[in-house]
């Protein structure tokens, strides 16, 4: 593997270099490829049908439940999991915790691709996607809309993340001067990015504030934005733990000895932060619940479901994080991270899909085709993720000509 030495590639033309880099690399018939390729092709076919025959042709959306899995999971949950990027850049660039520097790039890449693909999946859900530029350019600014804010923030945050990640691209292309300029913009992008993330992570919750009569009272409160923000902290970090443990196996040979050794320390550190954030979140939920005076609702099926979410997927993984941090048990931390991620999925779906119009005569249940498109989007993202990691210095060390860390 001498791609680290993407050097200056002065001998080759840029186009030749790019053409070579675009070629697939490594073994082709891996289990992941065998599963993901048919799903991606199927997804593509379904997307064609969707644009040809309308959204109703492959989804179960109704006039009462106009937002389903594609918004509730792909966008709202996907963005929560991408929250790891702003938390980690906060720790490394604002709090100067150098310990976590080695995982910043992969986390930012993961976050950027999550936004690119899950916000991109939003286009599939738009009935009139050719008008998607209206809130960005033109004279149709709906400034009173939370969605206007979220749309702008998605766009700006993707640019900020691209700037944060761009030094890796420059190192790959061997562009020394560009790298210097780009890495000089990192701090500005980080500060801007954290500010944007604070607002749109909570903004995704604020989208649902006007649906007051439609969301089950156990999940609706005026504090949804705060809840979404706080849970994006530990949801995002759990994703970092989860993704890190997989990346460290799959891309084993790219990671330096030193970073391998540091990885357990990083994971236990993140576990502690998760535990504290989850404690705060649980306490907030408790306050909101007591304030809401919905005691009678607990003894209903939705109430049991609410209790399962709070105790099974918030309190339990929180305790597990504390315990495994104390015991220094990496495998238990991974279990806790997985449970936390399930909890975040359950929470987001409870607000957006399961608790939305819970009293409707005909409940919305996504079709298999909605699920297939969702998986196709996730798999495509992983393909791009893998492509980038195999070529750019994301996990591996930067080329030797780089003498300052960004």
């Amino acid at each position: 593997m001498n791609y680290t030495a993407a050097k200056d590639n002065d001998g080759k033309s840029v186009w030749k270099f790019l053409a070579e880099e675009l070629k697939p690399r490594g073994k082709f018939l891996t289990p992941f490829n065998i599963i993901s390729i048919p799903v991606m092709i199927l997804g593509l076919v379904l997307i064609v049908i969707r644009f040809w025959k309308g959204i109703g042709s492959i989804t179960n959306l109704t006039q009462e439940v106009p937002w389903g899995l594609w918004i509730g999971f792909d966008v709202v949950t996907g963005v929560a999991f991408a929250g790891g990027a702003y938390v980690l850049t906060f720790m490394v660039y604002i709090l100067n915790m150098q310990k976590y520097h080695s995982i910043v790039r992969i986390t930012v890449l993961n976050g950027f691709l999550a936004y690119l693909f899950y916000a991109g999946a939003l286009l599939l859900d738009l009935g009139r996607p050719w008008n998607v530029i209206n809130p960005i350019i033109g004279n149709s600014f709906g400034t009173s809309s939370v969605l206007f804010l979220v749309a702008w923030h998605f766009l700006l945050y993707m640019i900020a993340q691209l700037i944060e990640f761009s030094p890796a691209v420059a190192e790959w292309l061997g562009a020394k001067r560009a790298r210097k300029i780009l890495s000089g913009m990192t701090i500005a992008a980080v500060i801007f990015g954290i500010t944007l993330s604070t607002l749109h992570q909570s903004g995704l919750g604020a989208l649902y504030l006007m649906a007051k009569d439609k969301i089950h009272p156990l999940w609706y409160s005026e504090f949804i934005p705060v809840m979404f923000f706080v849970s994006s902290i530990f949801g995002g970090l759990s994703m970092v733990i989860f993704e890190g443990s997989i990346s460290h196996k799959v891309f084993f040979n790219q990671i330096s000895e030193e970073n391998h050794k540091a990885h357990n320390g990083i994971i236990t550190g993140l576990a502690k932060i998760c535990a504290v954030a989850m404690f705060a979140y649980f306490f907030l939920q408790l306050l909101v619940f007591v304030h809401g005076k919905n005691w009678d609702l607990l003894n209903t099926p939705m109430g049991y479901w609410f209790l399962l979410e709070m105790f099974g997927f918030v309190l339990f993984p929180m305790v597990l994080f504390f315990y495994s941090y104390r015991r220094n048990s990496i495998s238990l931390i991974k279990v806790a991270a997985l449970l936390t991620m399930i909890g975040v999925i359950v929470n987001r779906l409870n607000v957006t899909v399961i608790g939305f119009r819970w009293d409707a005569a005909i409940r919305y249940v996504p079709t298999w085709m909605e699920l297939a498109v969702t998986f196709a989007v996730i798999f495509t993202e992983i393909w791009v993720f893998r492509w980038v990691i195999n070529r750019m210095p994301v996990l591996r060390e930067s080329p030797s000509w780089v003498n300052d860390k960004d």
């Binding site: 709090l95 209206n134 600014f141 009173s144 604020a206």
Partner: protein, 287 residues
């Protein structure tokens, strides 16, 4: 902490942007030459359930003819092909009819939700949908407390369908088709303020005939369509627990916090960064 040129420009730029987009957070017509909102008063005690409003609405808007008839116990809903429906209810004072369509709220949730101003509260009071702006996100449908906007899920070029108070007819100086054609005079069109006076008068003149409640006077912050009925409105399928604040008020607090965070966060973050940097000259770890 040092403020260099870039940071200075960023903060100034952010402040400017947020000040520029931070105002006018409420939906609704601009201040100034405000015309009074028009509306429709629907007196359900006069309605005979003849469906003339439904067929004249379909005709005026080029939509298919109504399907089904009002039947007690059956709730017909408006959909992407029918902007208004009349339903029958068995009430404590016999059979009653209720017409449903867009309420044309004073401060509509749908227009506050719309990020392209496709849903638009006109100066005349009608809430209209503008296809050239709409991107089909359906956030209006999520937000509307009355579930009014309907979406063509089975079209490659889908539209949002809802009553627009016959806005084109209003501009020609005519009145909405349903009002014009109602044979029982259950519907009257006028300035909202006058309609409320008229409704009050009817209640006062015949207190035993009417329930002392004008649905829409305060509901959801006040609506353009106003209802009179002989019985309490919860007997007629209305959501009577609906809030009297307008729905955009619910997300106002969040939207107002945006400029604050946009100004404070960068400053605080920069401050923390500088503070932690100086505290750790050579240390590699501070976890």
């Amino acid at each position: 902490m040092n403020i260099n040129r870039r940071n200075f420009f960023r903060v100034v730029g952010l402040t400017g942007t947020t000040l520029a987009i931070g105002n006018e957070l409420r939906a609704g017509p601009k201040k100034g030459n405000r015309i009074e909102f028009s509306g429709v008063l629907y007196d359900s005690t006069r309605c005979a359930g003849c469906q003339t409003c439904e067929s004249s609405c379909a005709e005026a808007n080029g939509l298919p003819a109504p399907v089904g008839i009002p039947e007690a116990g059956v709730i017909r809903k408006t959909d992407e092909a029918h902007r208004t429906v009349v339903n029958a209810f068995k009430s404590s004072k016999g059979e009653a009819y209720i017409k449903k369509q867009c309420m044309h709220c004073n401060e509509p949730a749908c227009t506050a939700a719309c990020l392209t101003q496709a849903m638009y509260k006109t100066e005349e009071g009608a809430v209209i949908w503008r296809g050239d702006k709409c991107m089909g996100c359906r956030y209006c449908m999520v937000s509307c407390p009355f579930d009014v906007p309907k979406f063509e899920f089975h079209s490659a070029n889908p539209k949002i369908e809802k009553c627009n108070m016959c806005y084109d007819r209003l501009k020609e100086g005519k009145i909405p088709a349903c009002v014009e054609n109602c044979p029982a005079e259950a519907l009257i069109f006028g300035k909202r303020r006058d309609l409320i006076k008229e409704a009050r008068k009817r209640i006062n003149d015949n207190p035993e005939q009417y329930e002392d409640h004008i649905y829409g006077e305060h509901e959801a912050g006040g609506t353009g369509f106003l209802y009179l009925a002989a019985v309490p409105f919860d007997e007629l399928g209305f959501n009577t627990s609906i809030q009297t604040k307008s729905y955009p008020e619910l997300s106002k607090g969040f939207l107002y916090s945006v400029p604050t965070i946009f100004v404070l966060w960068p400053a605080i973050l920069l401050g923390i960064r500088e503070a932690t940097k100086n505290n750790l000259p050579e240390e590699k770890e501070n976890g």
